[in-house]
């Protein structure tokens, strides 16, 4: 194979890949640019238009808008549910991956996790709504946090299991020889060693909770409404405020963008590990 043919193949491949990257990035950049335009310029389809922060100001500080509160709600629900899910999933992951226990328990937990993970969330929201309404908890943070915990639990379990499984067996054996109990082993050996995995998994769980629409749409009230639900309501108003909608979209992308910039390799690893189980 000559050098020239090789580089022609490379050029073709590069063109293909970067062209595709443009197809992904282009629409996003265009929409984000709308966040900095006046409504009139958006409606007349100007690609280059005067720059303004007005949409963000309107969205965050005008009296008709609750978006700041919506963002705060998203943050509260995502933070709380992530903390809970990561603690309970890691404890269980260590036990499921490394300790002696009845097989039927192990396989029922993992089997159910797999099944539940793949079932459409929408088949559960009606039931959740009924349950929380029956005990007077509909529309509370509790309802959102609890459902986000169960929604993220399978993924957190699978991810943490891959990290716990990767720990060297010798280490566990050595600790056991020294008379270390399971609990002590978990807190003193496993937890410090899977710190990287904990951070990666937490980041993903936060993002998934932050992104959730279906659950928040059906279980939140005006007071607990999260950012995605708020954005969807803007889109359904009679006179759509495109600029503000784009600004809202831009702001709710911040966690994901941060994650990609800071921990890209973590995300890829996490997504792949959780993809096919």
């Amino acid at each position: 194979m000559s050098v020239r043919r090789l580089s022609a193949g490379r050029l073709f491949s590069n063109t293909l890949v970067w062209g595709y990257a443009f197809l992904i990035l282009g629409p996003m950049v265009w929409v984000l640019s709308n966040a900095f335009k006046f409504q009139i310029d958006i409606l007349t389809g100007k690609i280059f238009a005067p720059f303004t922060w007005r949409n963000f100001e309107q969205l965050l500080f005008s009296r008709q808008s609750n978006f700041l509160a919506n963002l705060l709600n998203s943050a509260i629900v995502a933070t709380a549910s992530t903390l809970i899910v990561i603690v309970i999933a890691t404890m269980a992951a260590f036990t499921l991956a490394r300790l002696k226990m009845p097989d039927w328990i192990r396989w029922s937990v993992l089997g159910w996790a797999l099944l539940f993970h793949m079932l459409p969330t929408l088949t559960f929201v009606g039931s959740w709504y009924q349950m929380f309404a029956a005990v007077g908890l509909h529309g509370t943070y509790f309802a959102l946090i609890a459902t986000h915990v169960v929604f993220n639990l399978p993924m957190a379990l699978f991810l943490m299991m891959t990290f716990v499984t990767a720990l060297p067996e010798d280490l566990i054996q050595a600790a056991r020889m020294d008379g270390c109990s399971n609990g002590a082993m978990f807190w003193r050996i496993v937890m410090p060693l899977v710190r990287g995995g904990l951070i990666a998994t937490s980041a993903l769980m936060f993002i998934f909770s932050w992104s959730d629409f279906a659950i928040a749409l059906t279980l939140s009230s005006t007071d607990t409404m999260t950012a995605p639900v708020a954005i969807a309501t803007y889109a359904q108003e009679y006179e759509i405020r495109y600029g503000e909608m784009a600004a809202g979209a831009a702001m709710s992308m911040i966690p994901a963008l941060t994650l990609i910039l800071v921990g890209q390799s973590f995300v890829v690893r996490g997504l792949l590990a959780g993809a096919v189980k």
């Binding site: 490379r10 929408l122 929201v125 279906a214 992308m253």
Partner: protein, 309 residues
Amino acid sequence: MKPAANPQTGDTTKRNKRWVYLSLAPVIIVFLALSAFPVLNLLGLSLFKVTWQDGSAIYDFVGMENYKYLFNEEEIYWAGVRNTLIFAVSVVTVQMLLGFTMALAVMRAGSFGRPILTGIFLLPIVIPPIVIGTMWRLIMGREFGLINGLLSMAGLPTVDWLGNPDIALGSIMLVDIWHWTPFVFLLMLAGLESLDTEVLEAARLDVTSFWQEMRHIVVPMMLPTIVITVVFRIILSFKVFDEVYLLTSGGPGTSTEVVNFSIYRVFFSQDRVGDGSAMSVVTLFAVALMIIVANGLIQRRSGNKGGEE
């Protein structure tokens, strides 16, 4: 086991056993209360007709009536089932072809700008789906959308992407393909990168063209990954909801109705709790059955392969 003579061991064993159950208890409780119980709850509710009077619910036991209604008269649900199936199979086919091609191209393109590319491909996977819906609503809008703007600038007739019943489902599919192809790409890339390079190099000596290499070496070696990805992507695309909600709400007519949207509508817009529950139950069991069958097939496949060796 020698340390058994140690008087402390009995105590430690007991504590260790207790840890096993204590550490699993929260997960099991959460699963039982918020995923298993809701299914039982749905099964129960599906046997009732729920009506509202003065703000309180009245439950009338109707037995299998809701299911009879669902199977015989709820046409919109079956339109949704048909659309969901068409949607799932079509988007996954395109995503696989495109994702695999891109993964091959990235393998050949060398390392130029690789982290930037990966970052770009990750974007659609991690940003909120509702943002994606918003984006495409702005892009596909009839009057002020980007595509129609470009079309009319070029002097071409504009298209009602989301309002024309003949193309609305196609538009939703396009959005889903945009959304999930990068994920398939990442999976395929990881699969390609984990192929045994020695086997690849050796096999390369026997083939002459790119297509032969694909047909006889790369695709057969990737087949397990491909099959698993196809099966699970199809099942996961039954989850589609956010984009439909924001872009078309199932319309025009029933042209973009999907199963999840029917459930949402019946439960939350029409307040037909019994019917919504029956719908959820049927969907839940159908998808669960698919998952179990798919899993069984994949397990058996890998089991057989292990046996031959």
